[in-house]
Structures are given as structure tokens and as C-alpha cells.
């Protein structure tokens, strides 16, 4: 008896499934109003304040322009969950979106999935972490990047820090995940600024963008190189981790800390004098910039898919 019910349920499932898929070919949905495109925003970890701010900015923008487009926002559990992010791209294509705006968790691994999305006619815009040029070339695909110049931003922060340091001083750097383009760019910007000022980088390690790892690594840097005068963190979460390490080492007064991203926690730390400077790349608007570019491309197929550079500014106690 029970098995009979079960077979009926299965049958209904398969019949329903095949009939629906035959009436709605390749993700096109006829019932939806024709004018309003659906944009999928695919983020990294939404547990990270930087990305949740970005996502909130996008949601606010959508509610103000609700007549122009629909928005679906998704993130992944942690910054390294590549596999899930690739699956999200596939799922959004299957859900029939017109455009994908993505902050890739890895600059290489996402390219093939995004190429497949483009082949199905979905507009793809890259934000936050720039996709690898060589991989895009070998996959013969072009995806516009809308975002700030992280290297220039990091250099501004580094230059400002250098004004508080002497030639020959020693500093340490907390890098992001080394595979990410942003991490490489910020690292390069920091190094360039330090080199120009004649400051020596005695230790440079990756804390994977995370506060707790940054705390552990900064603490060990301080005990290994007690002479360091400053810690340059490639994002604000790691800067917060460094603050705690400096405090527990009893060095809060003589070690300067700089970050990147301008999250709200670091703004108060700057006011309190615990952090010297950070860079604002207008995180709240980064996704919106990407969405605007994507909508342009959806509405005007002939528009050129060029990179768009967005502003990065130095934030210090004076500018706040």
C-alpha cells in the first residue's frame, strides 16, 4: 500500500518535471514581465562585514530601483569554498537570471564556470577580486572588471604610514589569501610604499584575511621581531586581530597598525588611535557599481564590456 503511494508520487514528479521543462526551454520564463531583468549577486562569505555591507548596499539600491531589476543575493560559507561558489554560478544560470555580478573566491577557478554562463547568454560582471588575465585568455573569454585599484590604495595607506616612520625602521605585513589577486595587489602596494620610504619589511605572512589567524600570527611576529614599529594588514579584519596581539604584548603605544577596507569597527579604532589609517574603496557601493554596469550590458547588447575603475581613498583620524 505504502509503496503504491510512493510510486504515484514518483510518477507525478517525473511527469511534472518533463512537461515543465519542455514548455520552458533553456531557462526562459515567459510568465515573468519581459522588461525587468533578474540580476544574481554572488558574493564571498557574507559573515565578513565587508561583503555583507556590499550586499546590503546592493539590496538598498534594488529597493530604490525595484521597477528596473530583480536581485538575488548569495554568499558562500567561508572565503575558500570555491566549489560551492562554482555551483552557485551554475544554479543561477539554471534559475534563468539575465546577469551575474560576482566577487570570485578565486581568480582562476571561477573563469571556466563564468565562461559557460556567458555562452548561455548571461551577462557576467566581475567585482572585488579581479579574474586572472591569463586564464581568461586561455578560456578565450572576456569579463569586465568593475572595481578599485587595490595596489594604488595600499600604496596610499603605506605612504601615509611612512610619514610616521624613520628610514631603517622595521615593519611586518599580514597578507590575505595569497591566491587572490587583491591580496597580491595590496601586498605589492605595501611593499612599494615601504621600499620608497627605506623601511625594512622583516616578516610577511598570510593570515588568510581572518581576525583570529591574524591575532596568532601578529603575536608571533611581535615576539620574534620585537623591534617592529608597525604592522600593515591587507584588510581590516586582520588589522583588528593585530590590535589584540599588540595589546596583549603590551606594545599598544609604540606599534602602529594600518588596514584596508574601512569597516565600521576599524573606524572606531581609528578614532581611538588604535589604528593609524585604512583605505576606503566604498565597499557599500562596489556591488552597486557592478550591478549598474551589468544592467547597461543587459539593456544595450552592443555596449563595450570595458573595465571600470572605482575610487579608493585614504581614511585617517583627520578624514573621519
Amino acid at each position: 500500500m505504502r509503496s503504491a503511494w510512493f510510486s504515484i508520487a514518483l510518477l507525478v514528479l517525473f511527469v511534472g518535471c518533463s512537461s515543465k521543462s519542455s514548455t520552458a526551454p533553456t531557462g526562459g520564463d515567459q510568465d515573468a514581465s519581459p522588461a525587468r531583468p533578474k540580476v544574481a549577486l554572488i558574493m564571498k562569505s557574507l559573515a565578513n562585514e565587508f561583503f555583507s555591507t556590499m550586499a546590503d548596499g546592493a539590496k538598498t539600491h534594488q529597493s530604490e530601483h525595484a521597477d528596473q531589476y530583480d536581485l538575488v543575493v548569495n554568499g558562500i560559507k567561508d572565503e575558500r569554498d570555491l566549489s560551492r561558489q562554482v555551483a552557485l554560478v551554475d544554479e543561477m544560470v539554471a534559475a534563468g537570471v539575465s546577469a551575474i555580478v560576482i566577487a570570485p573566491a578565486d581568480s582562476k577557478a571561477l573563469v571556466p564556470a563564468l565562461r559557460k554562463a556567458k555562452e548561455k547568454g548571461v551577462v557576467v560582471v566581475n567585482i572585488d577580486n579581479r579574474l586572472d588575465r591569463d586564464v581568461m585568455e586561455s578560456e578565450s573569454v572576456q569579463i569586465p572588471f568593475v572595481g578599485p585599484d587595490n595596489r594604488a590604495g595600499a600604496q596610499k595607506v603605506g605612504d601615509f604610514l611612512a610619514t610616521r616612520l624613520q628610514k631603517g625602521d622595521k615593519v611586518a605585513v599580514l597578507e590575505g589569501i595569497r591566491t587572490s589577486f587583491n591580496a597580491q595587489q595590496r601586498h605589492a602596494g605595501f611593499l612599494a610604499a615601504m621600499k620608497q620610504a627605506g623601511v625594512e619589511v622583516v616578516s610577511s605572512q598570510s593570515a588568510q584575511w581572518e581576525m583570529s589567524q591574524a591575532n596568532t600570527i601578529a603575536a608571533s611576529m611581535l615576539s620574534e621581531h620585537p623591534e617592529i614599529k608597525a604592522i600593515l594588514a591587507a584588510n581590516d579584519s586582520m588589522a583588528l586581530g593585530a590590535i589584540a596581539a599588540v595589546k596583549s604584548a603590551g606594545r599598544a603605544d609604540d606599534v602602529l597598525i594600518v588596514g584596508f577596507d574601512n569597516i565600521s569597527a576599524v573606524q572606531s579604532a581609528i578614532r581611538d588611535g588604535k589604528v593609524l589609517a585604512t583605505a576606503d574603496q566604498y565597499g557599500g557601493k562596489l556591488a552597486v557599481f557592478g550591478i549598474e554596469t551589468a544592467l547597461q550590458l543587459v539593456n544595450d547588447q552592443s555596449a563595450a564590456a570595458d573595465d571600470v575603475e572605482t575610487p579608493v581613498d585614504l581614511v585617517t583620524a583627520e578624514t573621519l
Binding site: D29, L71, R80, S83, A87, A94
Partner: protein, 318 residues
């Protein structure tokens, strides 16, 4: 024969009920969910978890646990990446080395835990760190882009829209279930998981059988590494962090006992599908991340509860 079929359908009715319920809920709440393309996408995104869950089921049944699967997957992926990118090997040459590497990790897990009577929880916890470190050393902590030479396995076939990876994964489910229910090896696994001492007393050497379960798990993790690397076209040293928990969740949803002695590969497979459908459906709806986690946890518990209720009723029926 007919009776047997009814029995086996009954065995999975509770689980399939949960799966169908989820599909129904998402079909009603998201306009594009109930489509071939969505279901096919879900299938093609999860062969790695299927492979791993098949191996995990065997290890759990024999009374062990394998926490190292995610890291060993990354190690296998790193082996593929390094051989194919730095040494320009073909896939057919690199794959056996990958399977050998992950199989050896399984052999190590099994031998150390059996010979020295160390709980596999601890040995595989150590392997979790070692394999992750190994994958980072091999790749120099860089993700390696491999490209089209590896994409074929994960790419959907034109004719049926399913990827070879998914088909092979389903094949491993069938072979795994056959091994478990129709062979002497399978019966020994269950017997050792239920009461290892009794099996030993009856003159059977339990060590090789337990070790074999870990080796099977290792080799299947190697296949999972191939599936994932192929889907991403990239070998990623940070791949599959936390995969062990997803695999254990899938097995437990499927009714496999963490105490050993009870479990079914097919049920674990349905467990994977439940997790995958849930993940994908919530993503299509664009549910808040925190809500996603709340719902996922609740569904895991609900599925286990339903299964417990079903087995209680099932018993009174028989």
C-alpha cells in the same frame, strides 16, 4: 522477489519522502526550480560529495570515522594539478598517481588506527592536518589552473546533460551497495562494526577488513578529487574544507549509525541529494545566509527524526 522490492522501497520511503517534500516546497516557492536544468545542475555539482559519502558509509559501518576526507581530496587535487601543469602529464597518467596518493592516505589511516588501537577519530584528525599541509606544499599554496584537459569528466554530456563524473559516482553507489549487502566482505564490515570482539573470537582476522574500508574511502576520495578538480578546472589547495562534516551529515541523514554496524550506501546517496537540493533551493530563493544555516541544520535533524519514526513503524508493520 516482489516482496523484496517492496521491502527495499519501504526502507527508503521516509528519506525519499523528505527529498520529495523539499523538491515540492522549492518548486512552489521558486518559479524556476522545478526544471530539468536545475535538477541536472544539482546532480552535476555534487559527484564529489557522493564519492566521499560512499566511502564514509563503509568506514562508519565498520565502526570508524574518517575526518581527513576534505584534506585528502585537496591533496589528490594538488597531485593532479602539479602533474598536469608543472610536468604536463596527461589526465590518464596523472589519475592513477592521484588515486595512489589518496589510497595511501586511507591505508595509513587504517593501519595506524588498527595496529596501534588508536581511535580513527584521532588518526584521521592528524591526517586532516597533514594532507592539508601536503597539498599546500605541493602547490606552493597557489591554485593551479589546469584548463580543458581535465574538464571533460565534469562537463555534462551533450546527449543526457549529466556529467560522466555524476554517472561514475552513481556507479560507485551501486557497487558500494552491492559490496555491502551481497558479499562476504560487506557482511564482515557490518559484523565488525556491531561486535568486533565476537568476529575475532570466531577466527576471522578483522584488521585487513577494517583497513580495507579506509583504503576504499581513500580511493573514492581520489575520485572525488578528480570530479571536483574537473568541475573547477583548477587544483585548489584550499578545496573541500569541511567536506567531512557534509559527508557525515549525508550518511547520518541516511540512517548510518556513528556507532558502527548499521548503514546503507543508497541511503547515504539520498542523504547527499537532500543536502544538495536544500542548498540549491535556498540559493535560488536568495535566502539570507544566517537563515540558510538555520534551515539546513533543522532539516538534518528532521530527516533523522523521520527516519527514526519510520524504522519504529516499519518494525511494528513486519
Amino acid at each position: 522477489m516482489k516482496h523484496q522490492l517492496t521491502q527495499s522501497v519501504l526502507q527508503y520511503a521516509g528519506l525519499l519522502g523528505v527529498l520529495l517534500l523539499l523538491i515540492a516546497v522549492f518548486s512552489l516557492s521558486s518559479e524556476n526550480f522545478f526544471q530539468m536544468q536545475t535538477l541536472v545542475t544539482i546532480a552535476n555539482s555534487n559527484p564529489d560529495l557522493i564519492f566521499v559519502s560512499v566511502g564514509m558509509t563503509m568506514v562508519l559501518i565498520v565502526g570508524g570515522i574518517d575526518l581527513s576526507v576534505g584534506s585528502v581530496l585537496a591533496l589528490g587535487s594538488a597531485v593532479l594539478g602539479v602533474l598536469m601543469v608543472h610536468y604536463e602529464w596527461g589526465l590518464l597518467a596523472a589519475l592513477p598517481v592521484c588515486l595512489l596518493a589518496t589510497g595511501l592516505c586511507g591505508l595509513f589511516n587504517g593501519m595506524v588506527s588498527v595496529w596501534f588501537s588508536i581511535p580513527s577519530f584521532i588518526v584521521t584528525l592528524g591526517m586532516l592536518e597533514m594532507a592539508r599541509g601536503g597539498s599546500k606544499v605541493l602547490t606552493d599554496s597557489q591554485s593551479l589552473y589546469i584548463g580543458r584537459s581535465i574538464e571533460g569528466f565534469g562537463e555534462p554530456l551533450q546527449s543526457i546533460s549529466l556529467s560522466p563524473a555524476f554517472l561514475v559516482a552513481v556507479g560507485s553507489v551501486i557497487v558500494g551497495q552491492f559490496l555491502l549487502t551481497k558479499t562476504v566482505f560487506g557482511r564482515y564490515l557490518v559484523a565488525i562494526g556491531t561486535n568486533a570482539e565476537a568476529v575475532r573470537m570466531s577466527g576471522i582476522r578483522t584488521a585487513p577488513i577494517t583497513v580495507a574500508a579506509f583504503v576504499i574511502s581513500g580511493v573514492l576520495v581520489g575520485m572525488a578529487a578528480l570530479a571536483q578538480t574537473s568541475r573547477l578546472s583548477t587544483a585548489d589547495p584550499n578545496a573541500a574544507i569541511g567536506l567531512e562534516l557534509a559527508a557525515i551529515a549525508a550518511c547520518v541523514i541516511g540512517g548510518t549509525s556513528l556507532m558502527g554496524g548499521r548503514g546503507s550506501v543508497i541511503a547515504s546517496f539520498i542523504g547527499v541529494l537532500i543536502i544538495a537540493v536544500l542548498q540549491s533551493g535556498l540559493a535560488q530563493l536568495g535566502v539570507e545566509d544566517a537563515t540558510k544555516q538555520l534551515i539546513t541544520g533543522a532539516v538534518i535533524i528532521l530527516a533523522v527524526l523521520l527516519d527514526a519514526l519510520r524504522s519504529r513503524f516499519g518494525k511494528s508493520d513486519a
